[in-house]
Structures are given as structure tokens and as C-alpha cells.
Amino acid sequence: MSDAPNSPADGAVRLDQPWVISPAVALRPEPFGALAYHFGNRKLTFLKRPELVRVVRGLGDAPDVAAALEAAEIPESQWPGYVAALSGLARTDMIRPRQTEGAAA
């Protein structure tokens, strides 16, 4: 299957890490947010807020998670909730850590 490279065992997402949406995942827009489908493990997940969809889509272009939250205009007070939601997505490989240039293999 598609184990995410170097993902922490508990799937915890940290603010200072670069992440990206998994290549096997497609997002389908819905009135409440989006439906995420993983073609590899066939898991279906619901992103229950449009804001969360913006964050997830923005992960790949942001240097780290904090920057993605900022770009999606999420108030800092709500960041812990979003980090928890992202950790949930990481556990089913919906998002995975991004390898950056020069990062340890």
C-alpha cells in the first residue's frame, strides 16, 4: 500500500513541518466542504468546513503548516483544532509529509 514516508507513528502534524496532499487523493467540492477519496486505500473522508479544504489545498504551496493556516486566514486561536483535523487526515494518508530539498532522507 501507500505508507507515507517518514510520517510520525502517531500521524501527528506539527506547525513547523511541510506537508502536502497525497498524490492518490482527490477532493470533490461539496456544499459543506469537500469529500476526500484515497484511490490507494479506498478511504472516504469528509472535510466538514470550506476553511479546512482551503488549508489542505494550500499545504503543498506553503513552506509549513503554520503558513498554510495563515494563508487560509484561519485565526490563530483556532489553529489547534485545525492541527488536530490535519493529524486525522495524516493517519489515513490523505496528506503526507513533504520532502523538501536537502531534507534528511
Binding site: 470533490r28 461539496e30 484511490f39 472516504l44 466538514k48
Partner: protein, 455 residues
């Protein structure tokens, strides 16, 4: 050109289901959003053909004969293209028996190449060693799921409703899939009065073939309406099923079909919501779209993909689906303290047993369904809706199930030999009863000439 024939006027569902008129979600849960419908279905069933080698007594789609208007290969591929555009990530293919369509394997490959994963239901008739190897091959990329139907853990119970030889066919298919290395095939069981006592045996069969067990609810849909009274589980069996699912639920699939049992207490895993027209729908072999696989009836017909501008148009714009997505008041059930758990149960089960759509499910575990059925019977009889379509074979074939009562001979000889009652009519005892060769109107022939028995 009009392909579909004129349809009779039907009752608009919105008139049968009182709605609150309020289009804001009931709460913050996902099911509250789902009640209002999605831009594309999550669970789409596509019956590819009404043709079938079997004639199961309880067939939900009254299948048997191919419909001459069946979608062509090209039309079917255009449907797949549209589903890909709508991001319907996987579909459930059924029938009839889908694998007896000659282009089935071609459509399967086409769908998978277009990122529309497939789960197909089959009685196993075409799953020989060669096909099993193909299905397990990298060409399928793990995007295909197979569901083998088995409605008894023994040939006796299974063949009673599915027809002679069907148990062996299913088991052979499971053997072939296992031998080919196909992972996680599903054994799909419709729970009936006759097989609820076999749940552990079903699990053992699944374990033996490395398969997963899927249990679903018998609906009075299609030919199921004719046998529902005899086959549907008794109240104590529903309880048995519920506790079995609570104990084994994690590894058992249910297609979310037992949400009416949630009123026993704790909800079973799943959405616990009627998804008809909201997250679920059916495309039939001629391109007709219905609210749910168990509701192939004009009243639940949303449109046709060939004549009404394509599937997306029907899904998003049809009047029927708009009605189903309007939040409902819950009718008579709203007062029940379990309404939040079961949400009134299954619409198709109510409709095809003649119950009002805003009333209780016929198998309501609080007993309201039974009393509703009883009081309607007493008040002059329920009206069970006539089926809108029937593709059953017209003449009996050797695969037809023979639904003789499953029973045991009494243990002692005396009661076994004693007559159980008076003969129903004279001719039930002797074909020549009442026949007088001298005066009979049909002189010279055998058989009953009395005319008294209506035979």
C-alpha cells in the same frame, strides 16, 4: 426520438413526505448535511442488465429477461465518462447478473481506467479460474471489489430462494477467487427468517475463503414483495441480528442497511440515514434513474439519462430528488423517542408494504410497524403498490427456486401418517373425483370435471 415509453402519472413524493420547508441543516453533524443532498452521489448503484441466469424469489429488481432498450456499450462508456467528471469515485454494479453482459469485462476495465472504481455483485456464474486470475491481476489495480451473493450458509437454505445449484456456483466462485489470490472478496447475504440462525456459519464460510461478510436487509422490493411476509425476519430474529452485529460489527459490512435497528439502543456503525436521492441512487439498465436500488418504481423515478440531459442533470435538478432533500418532519414517528436513531426507517420498505411514507417502518423494532400493518389490514386491507416494471422470466426454467416449505418430518410414525386435515377440495385427493364418464360435460377426458375447485 423518445426511447422511454410514456409513464403514468405518479404521486409526487413531496406530497407523501411532509417537509419542514427549512433548508438549513438540522445540526452540525455530517448526516444533517447529507439530508440536504450532495453534488454527486457517494453510493451509486448501476444495474447493468435485467438479464439473469437465476430467478431468485426475492429479486429486488424483478430481473430475468434482458430489456431490449438496454444501454449499448458506447452509451455505458459515456455514463462512466460523466461519472468521472462528477468525481463519483466508485460505483456498485449489479443487475440482473452483470457478468452475463458480453461487454461486462470491457466496461469494467474502462471504468477502472477512468478512475471510477467498481464493486460488482454476482452470483458467481462467470467467475471461472481464468476470470478470477484476471480480476486479481495488476490490470485491475486493486480498484475492483467483488460481492458474491449467498442467502444461505447451506445449499438447502440458499437454494430455497436462489434456485437449485446456486449455492455450489457461489462457493466455486469463492474458491476460484481465493486460488487466484484475489484479496477480500465479499460474501453478500440478504438476511431472512431462514438464515438468521446461520450467522456464525456464514462467518465461518467467509473466514475459510479469506472473504469479508456483508449482511443486508431484505426489502419488499421487486419480487421481494411477493415473498416478504414469509421471508422477513421475525421480531426476535431482528434482536438476534442486532446483538450479533454489535458483537461482530467491526469486521462485518452492512451497506448501512440496518439503521432501523438503531432503535434497539446503540447505533450500528454507518450513517444511519436513508440516503435515497441524497447520497444514494440507482441507474437501471435502460438509463432510468431511481432514488435507491430498492425503489424501482415510477413513484421514485427521477428521470432518464438519455432523455433528460444526462446523469448530472437528473441528480442535481430532478423534482423528485429536490423533494427527498427537503428536511422532513418525520410525520407520526417524530413523537417517538427513538426517532433520532432510526429516522423513520426505510422508505422503500414502507412503500412496498403499503404503509404511509411518513409512518413507521414495517419492521420498526418498537413494534409500531407491525401494529400499523395490522390496523390497515383490519380497516379493509392494505393496498400494496403494483410494480411498475417486471423483467421476470415468463415461463418457468430449471433454475427457478421451488419454495416448498422447509420443514421436518415428525419423529413418530403415527403423526407422520395421520392426515393433517380435510382435503381442500375433492380433486385435491383424486384427479377423477366427481367425474362421471356418462354425464360429464368433458366426456372421455381425465382430470377434474366437476368445475367446483377452480383448477
Amino acid at each position: 426520438m423518445t426511447i422511454a415509453p410514456e409513464r403514468p402519472a405518479t404521486t409526487r413524493i413531496g406530497q407523501l413526505l411532509p417537509t419542514t420547508g427549512d433548508r438549513t441543516p438540522r445540526g452540525d453533524r455530517l448526516v444533517d448535511q447529507f439530508e440536504l443532498g450532495l453534488d454527486a452521489p457517494i453510493c451509486l448503484t448501476w444495474e447493468l442488465t435485467y438479464a439473469c441466469n437465476l430467478e431468485c424469489a426475492h429479486c429486488l429488481s424483478s430481473s430475468g429477461r434482458r430489456d431490449p432498450r438496454e444501454l449499448s456499450t458506447d452509451q455505458a462508456k459515456a455514463v462512466i465518462d460523466e461519472l468521472q467528471r462528477m468525481q463519483v469515485f466508485y460505483i456498485n454494479i449489479g443487475g440482473g447478473e452483470p457478468t452475463i453482459r458480453p461487454d461486462f469485462w470491457e466496461l469494467l476495465e474502462y471504468s477502472i481506467e477512468h478512475n471510477v472504481g467498481v464493486k460488482f455483485s454476482t452470483n458467481g456464474v462467470r467467475l471461472n479460474k481464468e476470470r478470477a486470475a484476471f480480476l486479481a491481476s495488476p490490470a485491475m489495480n486493486g480498484y475492483v471489489d467483488i460481492q458474491i451473493s449467498l442467502d444461505g450458509a447451506t445449499a438447502e437454505v440458499n437454494d430455497y430462494v436462489r434456485g437449485p445449484g446456486s449455492f455450489d456456483t457461489a462457493i466455486r466462485a469463492l474458491e476460484n477467487l481465493q486460488e487466484a489470490g484475489f484479496q477480500d472478496a465479499k460474501i453478500s447475504v440478504v438476511c431472512t427468517r431462514q438464515n438468521i440462525g446461520q450467522l456464525d456459519e456464514f462467518k465461518a464460510i467467509a473466514d475459510k475463503y479469506g472473504a469479508m461478510l456483508r449482511l443486508t436487509r431484505l426489502r419488499p422490493s421487486g419480487r421481494g414483495a411477493d415473498v416478504w411476509d414469509e421471508l422477513h425476519p421475525l421480531p426476535e430474529q431482528q434482536r438476534e441480528l442486532y446483538y450479533w452485529l454489535m458483537a461482530n460489527g467491526e469486521n462485518i459490512l452492512t451497506g448501512d442497511s440496518f439503521f432501523h435497528l438503531a432503535a434497539f439502543g446503540e447505533s450500528l456503525p454507518g450513517l444511519n440515514l436513508c440516503g435515497a436521492g441524497r447520497v444514494v441512487c440507482l441507474i437501471d439498465p435502460i438509463g432510468d434513474v431511481y432514488a435507491c436500488p430498492f425503489a424501482i418504481h415510477d413513484n421514485f423515478h427521477a428521470g432518464n439519462i438519455l432523455t433528460d440531459g444526462g446523469f448530472q442533470q437528473v441528480w442535481q435538478k430532478s423534482e423528485l430528488f429536490q423533494d427527498l432533500r427537503a428536511p422532513q418532519t418525520g410525520g407520526a414517528c417524530a413523537k417517538c423517542s427513538f426517532f433520532d436513531a432510526c429516522r423513520g426507517g426505510c422508505m422503500a420498505a414502507k412503500f412496498f408494504t403499503g404503509l404511509p411514507l411518513d409512518g413507521p417502518d414495517p419492521e420498526c423494532v418498537q413494534g409500531y410497524g407491525e401494529s400499523a400493518l395490522q390496523s390497515m389490514n383490519e380497516a379493509g386491507g392494505r393496498v400494496i403498490p403494483e410494480s411498475s416494471q417486471d423483467h421476470s422470466k415468463k415461463n418457468p426454467t430449471r433454475n427457478q427456486p421451488v419454495m416448498l416449505q422447509l420443514g421436518r418430518r415428525p419423529d413418530d410414525l403415527e403423526s407422520a401418517l395421520k392426515p393433517r386435515g380435510m382435503p381442500v377440495s375433492a380433486c385435491a385427493e383424486s384427479p377423477l373425483a366427481g367425474f362421471d364418464p356418462g354425464t360429464g360435460a368433458l366426456g372421455g377426458g381425465g382430470g377434474c370435471a366437476s368445475g367446483a375447485c377452480g383448477c
